[in-house]
């Protein structure tokens, strides 16, 4: 296995990681404020399709990205409306979003492109040469070589992780978001509008899930497939938990899980243990997540008021 192969594998791994990372960041933001969003898988599906739609008709992935963000916000607003405005069950609402996404995207795929299964391929997408970030000086450095030629979205993912960390731990808003996730009643007594903060966190989080979806269709791949996101949203949820509800934790978990996804091709390249059952590497994220939740490895504890609807006047 030579340097080029290693670099390619790392780059491929990062391609897998990015959608997972965005999904996990969506979860981190939303759940820090106390709203569980298992609909993020569905939101990614929306983002993947609308990302492609924008990129296809404008011939610019940037427009696709914007459309992905916009649809993410819109679906996020729906989740917020149901769960925050009307105190609906967060899991039920998320399930509804997932189911609607399944049906609606297939419908729209057929409606817009008159195809089933796959959309037309994009020429202009973030994975294409013209849209990659080229850092030639890194090419010769061992291990960092992979970073010399990556999709814009991958860098964007890293930047979002840092931004999210700054937001949650170094801004006024972040402190308030976390307050709402830990003790909404206390937040109210301090004059913080819990509802407004949660609306923001859910919508902004959903925007990230929208980006994650777009990262699938206009960065990792060059088109939309009807099976997208193929459970990536749920891996993201697992990454969020494995990363203990922190942005950098989510990044680490996403990298680990991304590696798990491509171990298969790694094995093929290196020739190690060819008999290893492939399913076993794919279930790794979920097994590890259960292990940390159960405290078998190191314990991961959710924000105290995560998933709890908040009623202002309650006796």
């Amino acid at each position: 296995m030579n340097i080029t192969q290693i670099n390619l594998t790392i780059a491929q791994m990062l391609d897998y990681t990015t959608p997972i990372l965005f999904a996990a960041l969506c979860g981190v933001l939303s759940e820090s404020s106390g709203v569980v969003n298992i609909g993020l898988d569905g939101i990614m599906r929306f983002g993947a399709f609308f990302g492609l739609l924008g990129a296809f008709f404008s011939h610019s992935p940037w427009i696709g990205l914007l459309l992905g963000i916009a649809i993410g916000c819109l679906v996020g607003a729906l989740h917020a409306f149901i769960t925050i405005k009307w105190n609906g069950d967060q899991t039920v609402s998320g399930t509804a979003i997932n189911v609607i996404a399944t049906g609606l995207m297939t419908y729209l795929l057929e409606y817009v492109f008159s195809t089933t299964g796959y959309s037309p391929q994009l020429q202009n997408y973030f994975g294409a040469q013209a849209y990659r970030v080229h850092l030639p000086f890194l090419a010769k450095v061992p291990l960092l070589g992979a970073f010399s030629d990556l999709s814009v979205m991958i860098w964007f993912g890293f930047i979002c992780t840092v931004l999210m960390h700054v937001l949650l731990y170094h801004t006024v808003l972040g402190l308030r978001i976390r307050t709402c996730g830990e003790n909404p009643k206390a937040a109210t007594t301090l004059g913080i509008n819990v509802f407004r903060v949660r609306w923001f966190a859910v919508i902004a989080g959903a925007a990230l899930a929208g980006i994650g979806g777009a990262a699938l269709s206009i960065s990792s791949f060059s088109g939309f497939s009807d099976s997208m996101p193929n459970g990536v949203g749920f891996i993201g949820l697992a990454a969020m938990i494995f990363g203990k509800w922190t942005p950098f934790g989510a990044l680490g978990a996403a990298l680990l899980f991304g590696t798990g996804q491509i171990v298969q091709s790694l094995i093929a390249v290196t020739g190690i243990a060819p008999k290893l059952a492939p399913g076993l590497t794919l279930i790794l994220p979920y097994v590890l997540t259960l292990a940390v939740l159960a405290g078998f490895v190191s314990r991961s504890i959710a924000p105290a008021a995560d998933g709890m609807p908040y009623y202002k006047e309650q006796r």
């Binding site: 399913g279 097994v287 159960a294």
Partner: protein
């Protein structure tokens, strides 16, 4: 001797009496109905907005759903409706039962697969299959006995497997505090990848070695297949079995000590379950049992899928039966009877949806209707609020207030 007296006595044999466990809120019936109607309306708008004729689409959808008798294809459609519904009712019961105990078993999907794969295994596994094959041959015209027995073994094993899979989540919850929703989601994917990326993949342990391109497991023996009950359609005994399961679920909930304890746990789940605990009820054990039964019901759905429809575990994605079960349980308000009705409704949508392709509408369109219905149920606080308002306004109009407002 009046007829109603006879009916009462007849029902009494099944433990059904007309006295409710508590006074029921009529809104519990209205909320799912209104949700479905709203979902149908919004879906119509979606169809109309995409420049297609919603009335034609719905005519096709319901015309071919098997709900409306008549027409050449009706028998076949009706059979399809019942076959599909049997699976949705099974997963719906699974989710509904867990809801009654205050648990959100979002893992019916995974339990369905686990049940399906185990049923498949016992369907084709040589020691079992050969035994029953020989028995079938020996019994001659009583061969159906071998079929019943083989089917029963597959179903029992499938249900046990589904139950065990769910019990893992229950165990992690009571012993280690792992949230049921998260735990079952993780187990879904573990099941999914174990099966599709290992067991039934190319060269997997449950696939024929000669296979080159097509995926999927071995086919089950003929003796394992569910008996057909309405020739020439492929309607099989699954619908009867699931109705039995629905009755058993109802009986469990409302006629047994386990059901009594489960409901007490469910009613107090969000305030710490201290009341049942203080009365000496072993909450941990009941929750694991509840998850096991719930998983077994989902596993039953998986058995129907294999033994009544596919006869093998297919290599292509078969996602969605468990997720749909959540919708069925919610629309059915977690009551066994409601789940049966909701399952029939969803089964009808799925059956008729294929015909909508004639109107250029993909068959997954029924997902939109279902998703919207679930969405409106999530919004039930709002739905209830407006329903109460409407009722109040109507009452006020009907009976001009004599000083006091009509209360609801």
């Amino acid at each position: 001797m009046s007829e109603s007296n006879f009916t009462t006595k007849f029902l009494k044999i099944f433990g059904i009496d007309n006295r409710g466990h508590n006074r029921r809120d009529p809104l519990n019936v209205w909320v799912p109905l209104v949700s479905i109607v709203l979902a149908l309306i919004v879906s119509m708008i979606v169809i109309a907005a995409s420049g297609r004729n919603p009335f034609r689409a719905y005519a096709l959808l319901f015309g071919d759903s098997g709900l409306i008798p008549g027409g050449a294809a009706w028998r076949r459609e009706f059979a399809e409706l019942l076959i599909k519904s049997a699976m949705y009712i099974a997963t719906g019961l699974s989710v509904a039962l867990a809801f009654k105990g205050g648990l959100f078993n979002i893992g019916a999907e995974g339990q369905f697969w686990v049940g399906a794969i185990v049923a498949t295994f016992f369907g084709y596994w040589a020691p079992v299959a050969h035994t029953f094959g020989a028995m079938y041959a020996a019994l001659g015209s009583f061969g159906w006995i071998a079929q019943l027995l083989h089917g029963a073994i597959c179903i029992i094993m499938g249900m046990l497997a589904g139950g065990a899979w769910a019990a893992v989540a229950g165990f992690l919850y009571v012993k280690r505090g792992v949230n049921i929703v998260i735990g079952t989601i993780m187990l879904n994917w573990i099941a999914w990848f174990l099966i599709t990326s290992w067991l039934v993949t190319f060269n997997g342990p449950m696939t024929p070695a000669s296979q080159t391109f097509t995926f999927g497991s071995f086919y089950v023996a003929d003796t394992a297949k569910l008996l057909r009950i309405m020739m020439p359609t492929r309607l099989n005994t699954s619908i009867l079995l699931v109705l039995l399961a629905a009755y058993a679920t109802w009986f469990l909930l409302y006629k047994t000590t386990i059901g009594y304890e489960i409901r007490a746990i469910g009613y107090t789940a969000n305030i710490g379950m201290e009341t049942p605990r203080a009365q000496g009820i072993n909450i941990s054990r009941r929750i694991v049992q509840l998850m096991t039964i719930s998983g077994a019901l989902a596993g039953l759905g998986g058995c129907f899928f294999i033994l009544g429809m596919q006869y093998q575990f297919p290599g292509t994605a078969i996602m969605g039966y468990g997720w749909t079960g959540i919708g069925v349980a919610l629309i059915g308000q977690s009551e066994p009877l409601g789940v049966v009705l909701a399952g029939l409704f969803i089964g009808a949508l799925r059956t008729g949806a294929t015909s909508m392709q004639v109107a250029n509408i993909p068959k997954t369109f029924s997902n939109i209707i279902e998703g919207l219905a679930v969405g409106f149920i999530a919004l039930q606080v709002a739905v209830r609020y407006y329903l109460v308002k409407i009722i109040q306004r109507r009452r006020a109009r009907r009976a001009p207030p004599a000083g006091q407002e009509a209360a609801v």
